[in-house]
């Protein structure tokens, strides 16, 4: 007997219709044809004739197709549908080996049609996935640029940082000149070893004066990095020696912006710090000098040879940063062992300066990103949580949608589709969703990277290389596939398991399947709530930390303070006296400007001063083996404290008289006074430099209030303020307190500066408020990012709760109708639905608390003066999540109260 089902399917093509409807029509026509066939057969006609007579009931299949499509009111599908159908038929015609491909085209066709009939579901799912994937891509691109990408130097794994280190505490600090020469001379572990310092240089000449970031380095540094300039050559070792010809390398940026990309720049002379330098080369456009994150310096524009005196300053002056390239076949451990042996010999030879110091060698990449890598990975982990929430959200949407398509799945199952075939078709839906979400995610990721490029703190190393490149795209594909599996597998497997008979009976309902699905959905909501609690708690704690960090700036009225950097370099300012003369004249001129109240100068600003020294308190004897009392050291002018806004607590500020005599005068901060003279006045007390002989002998003449020196978050240091003119360092900061807008004074100040010396420029102009803003930039950025993640998570949770409860109301419609019919009042139905939402939320909060506790140690590293398990934060977040869940439950609950029991019961 003919297979009428196959016969109809072969002739009838209703791809424009809903798949479920198409199947019903095919089945019905097949049934009617079989009725006709059986009637003719039972009338006694021979089989071939009955077959032919039955078939004559439909002679024009095309016409029947058109009539059915017209009656069903369906439109012709889009070209993609027809293309997929043709692809499927083409694949099937090729033979059994192509059936899998044919099945795939068929699955794709059904999937696209199904999504066309549920555009809201498709859009919500794609948006949700796009959000999670896009955030992951944006953050991963930062991780890739900063942490994963190889340094852009040949054989970068051989590049290392070399440090001095305390034997006992392991603190790393820069090298001294004599130690550098000894290590370099005795070590055999390095192919190249060099040192550098970051300075500012004054560019002058035909163009206006400009203060540019410069690196002073030995030839060994640039040789170690092994990058050839795009024009000219690198330094030679003889150019480091005193009296050698003055040469300079320019950055590509400076060459283009200040020198108009002059192709003849190599060999020409430029004015740097008032002296003529010969340009020997221009660095490549993508060249990035490795600067550690804690240095907070921008990329250098000029490279100048560094002359390091073997003797002066001595071994107790640690001011040189060192990079090296290991010899082939050696490890950092090998080099470190060797240098530690050399350091031990030097400690024996120079006990006054080198006792207790050793060497430390770390890979350059690790040293550069130390301080940001942990934060970045934590941020990546948070984005991962957000992505999981998005996957759980879409999985719950798929599961809830599954119940309305049970009949369709049942029809397919009844036609012989096995569980794996059904799962494959449902997984195709997940893949299509994931692909659409992934595409949107890439677009959002590109946009996110753009925003990150503008908002991420500039001192994050290697951030200029931030981009969406091949590895980031590969990551996108991987994340997309992973999300497809994560959110698609369980719903696909669950939905493919269908009780055919129950599902096909109209009004029939599989109680068991419904309960399982409800449990799954509830579980997914619980997961979302739990993960959101972890994220939201983290965001709240980050906000608290940010508020702690930025609370109460110590400076008085910082918005009235103007700050600018000035470097006095070159032969005109070699002596201390010449520097003193400049500053005296300059500050006098500034005092006469309109609106100026106080002017001052310093070698180190609050929040950014990293110079310290070991001191002897009172008559304490010098002991080279002792750890020593460390204090931050700064040189300031008389009126500096009034200018910058540091209150004077007792005594007086520094004056001319403090610069001379057997004992100079110094001012200390409250922390130092309380530490060494608790409960008594520090005025008149003695401090000396911890060296033999002491490099200073001072009497305390004043005590000022504390101001954080090493950034906003590092502990307060004891601090000593020396008379400004006693130090010969070139870089100083000008500080002006005024009654008018500080930035309005800038043009006038530039004029005064030019009137003294046209070769001197100022830069890094900002207000006292900017000082705090800049210092808080990193933490502000991280707080903003976590806040964004938390908000996104809360939005997803609310939509998740809403979706699940809406499904719950639809599934329980009959039960609600019965309850209403039996007299349940509106508020009881409302309470019933709301309580389900509340139960899920509370369960999620419970698991979330476990998550908070489990991640406490990781979170702790990101916080400031607040515990990662701060109870108030957890309570506040839990309460807020509960409110969100209740609000999201309200609409489904109100819908439940509007169920008409009569309608419900009649329809059953």
């Amino acid at each position: 007997m003919r297979d009428w089902l196959g016969y109809v399917r072969e002739h009838l093509c209703l791809s424009e219709l809903d798949p479920c409807r198409e199947e019903k029509i095919i089945q019905e026509l097949a049934s009617q044809l079989e009725d006709a066939y059986r009637e003719y057969l039972s009338a006694g006609a021979p089989e071939p004739e009955t077959d032919a007579r039955a078939r004559r009931h439909v002679t024009d299949w095309d016409q029947l197709t058109r009539d059915l499509i017209r009656e069903e009111g369906a439109n012709m599908g889009p070209p993609i549908d027809r293309w997929l159908e043709q692809s499927e038929q083409t694949a099937r015609r090729k033979g059994p080996r192509w059936f899998l491909l044919g099945d795939f085209w068929q699955d794709l066709r059904y999937t696209l049609r199904a999504f066309r009939t549920s555009p809201a579901f498709f859009l919500v799912s794609v948006l949700t996935l796009g959000l999670g994937i896009g955030a992951s891509i944006a953050i991963f691109s930062v991780i890739e640029a900063v942490l994963l990408r190889q340094l852009p130097f040949p054989e970068a794994d051989r590049l290392v940082m070399v440090w001095h280190s305390d034997v006992d505490k392991g603190n790393a600090f820069p090298l001294s000149g004599p130690d550098y020469y000894d290590w370099k001379g005795e070590s055999t572990s390095f192919e190249d070893l060099g040192v550098y310092v970051i300075r500012r240089a004054n560019l002058s000449g035909d163009a206006s004066s400009e203060r540019a970031q410069s690196v002073l380095c030995t030839a060994g540094i640039l040789k170690a990095l092994a990058v050839e300039p795009s024009m000219g050559r690198l330094f030679l070792e003889e150019e480091e020696r005193p009296g050698a010809d003055r040469v300079a390398l320019l950055s590509d940026n400076l060459w283009k912006n200040r020198y108009g990309a002059d192709r003849d720049i190599v060999g020409s002379s430029i004015l740097i710090n008032g002296e003529s330098y010969s340009v020997i080369g221009v660095m490549p456009s993508d060249y990035e000098f490795p600067i550690p994150v804690w240095n907070e310096s921008r990329q250098p524009e000029i490279f100048l040879p560094l002359t390091v005196d073997r003797e002066n300053p001595g071994r107790n002056s640690n001011w040189l940063f060192s990079y090296g390239r290991l010899r082939g076949g050696l490890t950092t451990e090998d080099a470190e062992k060797e240098l530690q042996a050399i350091a031990a010999r030097l400690a024996e030879a120079y006990p006054d300066t080198n006792t207790g110091t050793t060497a430390r060698v770390i890979p350059l990449h690790e040293g550069l990103v130390r301080g940001v890598s942990q934060s970045l990975w934590i941020i990546m982990g948070s984005v991962g949580l957000l992505l999981l929430i998005a996957c759980a959200n879409v999985a719950s949407l798929l599961l809830a949608r599954g119940s309305s398509r049970q009949a369709e799945v049942a029809i397919r199952a009844s036609m012989g589709a096995g569980r794996w075939r059904l799962t494959r078709q449902l997984l195709t839906e997940s893949l299509v969703l994931a692909a659409a979400g992934g595409t949107l995610g890439v677009l959002l990721g590109v946009w996110g990277v753009d925003i990150l490029r503008q908002t991420i703190p500039a001192n994050v190393p290697r951030i200029t290389g931030l981009q969406i490149d091949g590895s980031v795209l590969l990551f996108s594909v991987g994340v997309t596939l992973l999300t497809a599996v994560l959110f698609g597998l369980i719903p696909a497997y669950s939905r493919s398991q269908v009780d055919t008979i129950q599902a096909l009976q109209e009004g029939g309902r599989s109680q068991t399947a419904g309960r399982h699905r409800a449990r799954f959905l509830g579980g997914l909501v619980v997961i979302q709530v739990a993960l959101s609690l972890v994220l939201a708690n983290g965001a709240t704690l980050m906000l608290k930390s940010y508020l702690n960090v930025t609370a109460s700036p110590e400076l008085l009225s910082p918005e009235r303070v103007l700050i600018a950097g000035i470097s006095l370099e070159g032969p005109a300012y070699e002596s201390r006296e010449s520097k003193a003369a400049f500053w005296t004249l300059f500050l006098e001129k500034l005092e006469n400007l309109p609106g100026v109240e106080h002017v001052g100068a310093t070698t180190g600003l609050p929040l950014g001063s990293f110079s310290n020294a070991s001191v002897l308190v009172g008559d304490e004897p010098f002991d080279p083996t002792a750890r020593g009392n460390w204090a931050s050291v700064t040189w300031v002018t008389e009126d500096y404290f009034h200018a910058v806004g540091i209150p004077l607590l007792s005594g007086r500020t520094l004056g001319r008289q403090d610069e001379t005599g057997e004992q100079i005068g110094v001012v200390v901060n409250r922390s130092l006074a309380d530490r060494f003279w608790p409960g008594e006045s520090a005025l008149g007390k003695r401090l000396r430099g911890s060296s033999s002989p002491p490099w200073f002998d001072a009497k305390i003449v004043g005590v000022v209030d504390d101001v954080r020196q090493w950034g906003l978050e590092l502990p307060l240091q004891a601090e000593i303020f020396f008379p400004f003119n006693l130090f010969s360092r070139e870089e100083r900061w000008m500080v002006v307190r005024c009654t008018i807008s500080p930035l309005s004074l800038v043009p006038l100040i530039r004029e005064e500066l030019a009137s003294i010396d046209r070769n001197v420029a100022m830069s890094a102009v900002r207000t006292g408020v900017d000082l705090y803003d800049d210092a808080a930039a990193g933490r502000r950025f991280r707080t903003w990012l976590f806040g964004l993640f938390a908000l996104a998570a809360l939005a997803l949770v609310s939509s998740g709760v809403y979706g699940v409860l809406s499904y719950h109301v639809v599934e329980r419609r009959h039960e609600i109708g019965v309850r209403r019919a039996l007299g349940a009042e509106t508020h009881r139905v409302l309470t019933w639905i709301l309580s389900r939402g509340l139960r899920l939320c509370l369960l999620g909060i419970g698991f979330g608390l476990a998550g908070v506790w489990a991640t406490a140690r990781i979170t702790e590293s990101m916080l400031y003066q607040v515990s990662s398990t701060h109870p108030l934060s957890i309570i506040a977040v839990g309460f807020f999540l509960t409110i969100v869940a209740l609000v999201a439950s309200l609409i489904p609950a109100l819908k439940a109260t509007s169920v008409d029991p009569v309608t419900v019961l009649r329809s059953e």
């Binding site: 019905e28 009617q32 044809l33 004559r56 439909v58 002679t59 059915l68």
Partner: protein, 114 residues
């Protein structure tokens, strides 16, 4: 004698009324409806599945009839159609229209012959 088939236009105008009236008594499946029309009309009205079935779809879309798959003991699974409330109203309406139409035609042709 071989029964004459009426013109497709005549049949098209009456098929819905025929189906509705047959379903008034009880639910029937699609093939049964076609056979019943043929039997009760004495073979004068014959509808193939290809013309009957789209009409059933149209009427179901209008909400006049509702199809439902039923599996009876000893029988194959079939889709049975029943008349809905709206279908009953449509039937009454169409019966009245049809009676008026036939009466009007009759008046014209009888008057012409007279």
């Amino acid at each position: 004698m071989k029964p004459k088939l009426f013109s497709p236009e005549l049949k098209k105008g009456s098929i819905e009324l025929l189906i509705l009236s047959l379903l008034e008594a009880r639910p029937r499946h699609g093939y049964e409806i076609g056979k019943l029309i043929e039997a009760r009309s004495g073979g004068e009205l014959q509808f193939r599945i290809s013309s009957l079935y789209p009409t059933l779809c149209r009427m179901e879309k209008k909400g006049w009839i509702k199809g439902r798959w039923v599996e009876k003991e000893g029988q194959r699974r079939r889709c049975y159609y029943r008349l809905t409330q709206r279908g009953g109203e449509a039937l009454a309406e169409q019966r009245e229209s049809w009676s008026k139409f036939v009466a009007a035609i009759h008046r014209v042709i009888e008057t012409s012959r007279a």
